[in-house]
Amino acid sequence: MKKDIILAGVGGQGILSIAACIGLAAVSAGMNLKQAEVHGMSQRGGDVQSHLRISDDEIHSDLIPQGKADIIISVEPMESLRYLPMLSKDGWIITNTAPFVNIPNYPPIEGIIEEIEKVPNHVAIDADKIAKEIKAVKSANMVILGAASKHIGISYEQLQEGVRMLFGRKGEDVVNANLRALEEGRKFAI
């Protein structure tokens, strides 16, 4: 088993939490992992991405080769498209449809959704809305992870365990909110 995942979003949207959940789950499942992050200047409201690679075999490069990613998981719709050159021909896009508008020239959202729908394998979900509905506004990222859960190659139970490990020190309420978000995302994508 080997999965190459691009995580995308805007600085501060919580893509590193998604990476950490998958990472914790993968490591407790005894898999190898490499995960490259972006720190520093680009974190200030800029586009951020993380290359997450999990495999039963040895992983060499910290970066996924262009055109070889199995999945793009994006917390922001336009950002999901920025990494299309990374996606393999039969790869999946799992993305939020709620735009994060912090630039004056953000394009019309309809055109962005249209482009997402052109990718044969896609899941587009309004994670912000769902997170609000289940009173877990800060967990839109976990809704997206839930929507991606069946494509990651890690069992759902292991992902839940990853959420518990990641948020455990923040208390039971935070853990449960994130587990609910994960579940809603999963249900949406089924």
Binding site: V27, K34, G46, I59, H60, S61, M78, N102
Partner: protein, 534 residues
């Protein structure tokens, strides 16, 4: 042994704790910051009494680490590549004094300038200083090399550079820990003149550094970190340095590489191994995550030997970082293009955060300067450098830490009026103080704006050495008290702030304005922690 999931930076930090350092010294700088932060947050490090607070700049960090080494204890000092320029004086001379307790200098190079002003290769400075270098290719090697680096350092009494690059620093992987070593007892150098670089002593010490180059190279050949991996197809021999190895192997999974390979991760360059590859193969490809340093050596001045491919002939781009596709193309392998980015996707450059105090400061400054021609504002390294971009377009320079004040002074000397320097609080104490003294001594006609957000913001909100000291420092340097003015950069005060700036721009002499309001990021982090505490 325990296995942890660690960033390259964190692997180095954990190894330093485990290998028995007594102190770590650093000024924050991407991609090196997380090394020191990890030690600061480590309970083990605390229990072991390892000192780890931030230094004022890389030079003070380097010197303090050298002092700890003088006292016989192990020390690590960390910086980004351009930070090594700041520390260059003690760095180069430390190779001549040598070490006493083990001393490792971590230089984290930001190839492609993800968050930097240039992409210089720290191996060049180590070579300049005649210092051994370790350049790990993965997180585990980074961990192991800290142990080895301290052994090497104490065996030859030489500081050792550990050179990493962004993709290793900021990528996570599994790392297995080793048995922990105790810290050294205090033990001064047996020769109390070892660190006295008077010419007569320095000449002797320098000779012994030169003599040590041979054993350093022998170490490079025998340590096991430089690996010669034979292959059947001798048409091409490949040399990789550092993480370039990973990008090569990504293209040849499961032992499919048929060319002989020399994986270099330790310097001086192991000449015997290079010679073996050169003799056995028809042509050579050099893959370096950095400048073409090994490649230049191999080609020589006249490049009349065997055909060499690399960054210098365009087989690999001359600038930027490597990736698996660049390496595949260099080897003539098939690559995937992927889908195109749709035309409606627009750039999302980094920007100042909503509510950032710098926004109020630069807006007031823009307004105050509106009656003058453009081009009067010199700035520095920090979040506020983003004010160069629309919509503010407030600043006209960003060169190196502290250069805003001295460049404004030089331009004022040339007759530019007004000449404004915009610098952050942490950058001011890093390298701005001496420049301000120059300006005071010369009665230069400059207006210095010290944006005090009470933190080192760009690197994630580390303790600023300037905290609580700025006015006193300025007074002490001789800036007149009535021209040291603290401002509150909020919207409701914008008119008042603009008037203050206007007035000080008119003043003939040095004035210092200090817009003071806490960074919105550290403020919200603190209030979150407070709430969690309740």
């Amino acid at each position: 042994m325990q296995r942890l999931l660690l960033l390259g930076d964190e692997a180095i930090a954990q190894a330093a704790i485990d290998a028995g350092i007594s102190g770590i010294y650093a000024y924050p700088g991407t991609p090196s910051t997380e090394i020191t932060e990890y030690v600061q947050n480590s309970k083990e490090a605390k229990a072991k009494g390892i000192r780890s607070s931030w230094s004022t700049n890389e030079k003070t960090a380097m010197e303090a680490a050298l002092g700890m080494s003088y006292a016989g204890k192990r020390a690590m000092v960390c910086m980004k590549h351009v930070g090594l320029n700041v520390a260059a004086d003690p760095f180069v001379n430390s190779a001549i004094t040598g070490a006493n307790g083990g001393l490792i200098i971590v230089a984290a190079d930001d190839r492609f300038m993800h968050s930097s002003q240039n992409e210089q290769d720290s191996r060049a400075l180590a070579k300049f200083a005649l210092m051994p270098v370790l350049e790990p290719s993965n997180q585990q090697e980074a961990y192991d090399m800290v142990y080895y680096g301290f052994e090497l350092s104490e065996k030859y009494r030489i500081p050792v550079m550990l050179r990493i690059t962004t993709r290793l620093a900021h990528s996570r992987a599994g790392v297995t820990r080793r048995e922990q070593r105790n810290q050294n007892e205090m033990r001064l150098p047996t020769n109390l003149r070892q660190f006295v670089l008077l010419p007569s002593i320095a000449r002797k010490q320098y000779k012994s550094l030169l003599e040590n180059q041979t054993p350093f190279e022998t170490e490079s050949e025998n340590s096991g970190y430089n690996k010669y991996i034979d292959g059947k197809n001798k048409k091409l021999g490949i040399i990789t340095t550092g993480i370039a190895y990973n990008y090569l192997m990504e293209n040849y999974p499961n032992g499919t590489l048929e060319y002989p390979l020399l994986k270099i991760t330790q310097y001086p360059v192991p000449r015997k191994l290079v010679e073996k590859l050169y003799e056995e193969c028809e042509e050579i490809l050099v893959l370096e995550e950095g400048s073409p340093m090994v490649e230049e050596l191999l080609r020589g001045l006249l490049d009349k030997g065997k055909k060499v491919y690399g960054r210098l002939d365009g087989t690999v781009p001359r600038d930027g970082e490597l990736n698996p596709v660049i390496v595949a193309k260099a080897l003539g392998l098939k690559t995937e293009e992927g889908l195109k980015i749709p035309g409606n996707v627009v750039g999302r450059p980094p920007s100042l955060c909503a509510g950032c105090p710098h926004i109020d400061s630069v807006v007031a400054l823009n307004e105050a300067l509106s009656k003058y021609a453009k081009g009067n504002v010199f700035s520095d390294i920090g979040c506020y450098t983003l004010a160069a971009l629309p919509p503010y377009e407030s600043i006209n320079s960003c060169v190196d830490m502290g250069a805003s004040i001295t460049m404004a002074k030089g331009a004022a000397d040339a007759g530019l009026k007004p000449a404004v320097a915009v610098i952050g609080d942490s950058t001011f104490t890093h390298s701005g103080i001496t420049g301000l003294l120059d300006a005071v001594n010369d009665k230069s006609n400059i207006t210095v704006v010290i944006l005090d957000n009470a933190t080192t913001g760009m690197t994630g909100g580390q303790q600023s050495s300037a905290y609580g000291h700025i006015e006193e420092i300025c007074k002490g340097l001789g800036v007149e008290e009535e021209h040291i003015i603290v401002m509150n950069p909020v919207k409701s005060k914008s008119e008042e702030n603009m008037e203050i700036i206007k007035r000080e721009l008119e003043y003939d002499g040095v004035s210092v304005l200090i817009p003071r309001r806490e960074c919105i990021q550290t403020l919200s982090r603190k209030s979150k922690e407070k709430r969690a505490g309740k």
